[in-house]
Amino acid sequence: MSSILRVEDLKIYYKARKGIFGSVQIKAVDGVSLNVGYGETIAIVGESGSGKTTLGKAILKLLDPTSGRIIFDDQDINLIRTSDVKKFRLQVQGVFQDPYSSMNAFMSVKQILNEPLAIHNIGNKQEREQRILEALTDVNLFPADEIIQKYPHMLSGGQRQRIGLARALILRPKLIIADEPVSMIDASSRAEILYLMRELQSKFNITFLFITHDIATARHFSDKIAVMYAGNIVEYGSPQTIINNPLHPYTQALIKSVPSTNPINRLRMREVIPGEPPSPSNPPTGCKFHPRCPSFISGTCESIEPISVRLDNDHQISCHLWTD
């Protein structure tokens, strides 16, 4: 199966200032490889500091990697000539976490949706108006001709995020990176947006990269889940595999941390991962999870970095428990 997106050993390091003269290296993404097939939805699940947002931004070509490659449609995106970058942007779009701050509050919905078309010189005035109304219908915002006159602050959070989705869709991209698209939306409205995204995916044959911290949401709305920790993908597989048969200690702990609505929970302590997520400027040696790992193997885990092992049916894991 050919893939629309291939990430090969991507590393993204920043330099941050420390003190007056010193600087420290932040390893946001530390060797990530990923293969995304056409029309798939891949969920990148991780906590803060896992590097998932940085990964998303790199694929959107919002920042440059330190090493490694990102291949979109058989083209290395970092080798694209400046004059062709605009063409790349036509095909890869983003939906962002905060639907309010990602839009210009002084622009009406019509102007917001018209902007991508104008920048890429698509269609004449009438064609653009037509496309804008269609885009609003696609994201189930009615009545379209009233909505186009409104400004972002007049809409609810869910409606705003749908405008964000419409804006990403209006250029008919092949790949959409959605960075925490529903985490600022009310819990009772989230599924609505996610179902909408799924509908649009099949209608327009779009591939989605869905970045989230909520593994439960990822389970229901993705074809594959990649679990990230401290800049690495530690486990990868289908939702069923990951949820029902998690093999990496971090994945297991993550799943146990998710609360369920059982009132008996209050009478017992939850199993927690001890300690804190590692500091990105001074990560642990070897396997970055080793200080918090219940299955820590002395002598191995703290000195050698685990390599990714492919188990059956697309289940991959980076853990010394499985590298033999």
Binding site: E47, S48, S156, G157, G158, Q159, D186, A187, S188, S189, R190, A191, E192, Y195, H213, D214, I215, A216, T217, R219, H220, I243, A253, L254, I255, K256, S257, V258, P259, S260, T261, N262, P263, N265, R266, M269, R270, E271, V272, I273, E276, P277
Partner: protein, 320 residues
């Protein structure tokens, strides 16, 4: 023993020419030593309610009325000065929403913890030092944290410091407004365990405000569900989480994606109403798929079931 009896509490704001009815006639009771969760989504008025309980009214507030009986004493009748001296932080304390940013960045942790003790002149230096060491241990943080500055602490550590700060004067009731919403899931679990610990060891009562009903299940004895400024359902955790009666509660529980079952989450179409112009009758009726004719005309009464569960919904009328 009933610790808190809130009757018909209301708090309105003016914004421009609008009158926003943020809290509109809330009533509930709370026993000593129990944890009550207030669950609601954005704009339902839960934060306003916590501010109303502590009388931390914003400048544009109007329409502050009702009764707050704390140990049979109506707090509404106390003067501002009395409330400040007697109640605030001494009997009722609060951990605010977004509190991670409200630590003073230029003061050490020990100074910030000690502040309420210093202001109350009856504590000696030694007593203060002893108390803050005690507190920092209660929230499972090492002593050396005391000498640090807030920016040196992680999110989880800061949250623990804030919880310690709320416990300084041994309050009987602590209100926690979204204490874990800015934290990662794994840290969230740690904080919840800490709260369970404190509840069991110190016998403190908590009001736990959150938008995440599954988080509420992790700690609460009783749950109150808020929608558009009103409490629509209240009962024990078992009743609300396993046998909800209000359509909003039912739908809310159904929109939580579950890990174990294959059942995909549902959603409630539409969005919460504008509190300056709420819908007529039951405020949830425009989004409710079980609405009756009466729902758009009259605001539902409170129906008390045999097991103590209270539901504000016309659907319950037949059952009584």
């Amino acid at each position: 023993m009933t610790l808190l009896k809130v009757q018909n509490l209301s708090l309105h704001y003016t914004s421009g020419s609008n009158n926003i009815r943020a809290v509109d006639g809330i009533s509930f009771n709370m026993e000593q030593g129990e944890v009550l969760s207030i669950v609601g989504e954005s704009g339902c008025g839960k934060t306003s309610m916590s501010l109303a309980l502590m009388r931390l009214l914003p400048r544009n507030s109007t329409g502050y009325s009702g009764h707050i009986f704390f140990h049979d004493e109506d707090l509404m009748k106390l003067s501002d000065e009395e409330l400040r001296k007697i109640i605030r932080w001494k009997k009722i304390a609060m951990v605010f929403q977004g509190a991670l940013n409200s630590l003073n960045p230029v003061m050490r942790i020990e100074q910030q913890l000690a502040e309420p003790l210093i202001l109350d002149a009856s504590y000696s230096r030694d007593a203060i030092s002893q108390r803050i060491t005690e507190l920092i241990g209660m929230v499972h943080l090492p002593n050396e944290i005391l000498r640090r500055y807030p920016h040196e602490l992680s999110g989880g550590m800061k949250q623990r410091v804030l919880i310690a700060m709320s416990l300084v004067l041994n309050p009987q009731l602590v209100i926690l407004d979204e204490p874990t919403s800015a934290l990662d899931v794994s840290i969230q679990a740690q904080i919840m365990n800490l709260l369970k610990d404190l509840k069991n060891n110190l016998g403190i009562s908590f009001i736990f405000i959150t938008h995440d009903i599954s988080l509420a299940s992790d700690i609460s004895d009783r749950v109150a569900v808020m929608y558009a400024g009103e409490i629509v359902e209240i009962g024990s955790s078992e009743q609300i989480l396993l046998k909800p009666k209000h359509p909003y509660t039912i739908k809310l529980l159904q929109s939580i994606p579950t890990l174990k079952s294959n059942e995909p989450p549902k959603f409630i179409p539409g969005s919460p109403p504008d509190l300056s112009n709420p819908p007529s009758g039951c405020r949830f009726h425009p989004r409710c798929d079980m609405a009756l004719a009466i729902c758009s005309k009259e605001n539902p009464q409170s129906f008390l079931l045999n097991n103590g569960q209270r539901v504000n919904c016309w659907l319950l009328k037949e059952n009584i």
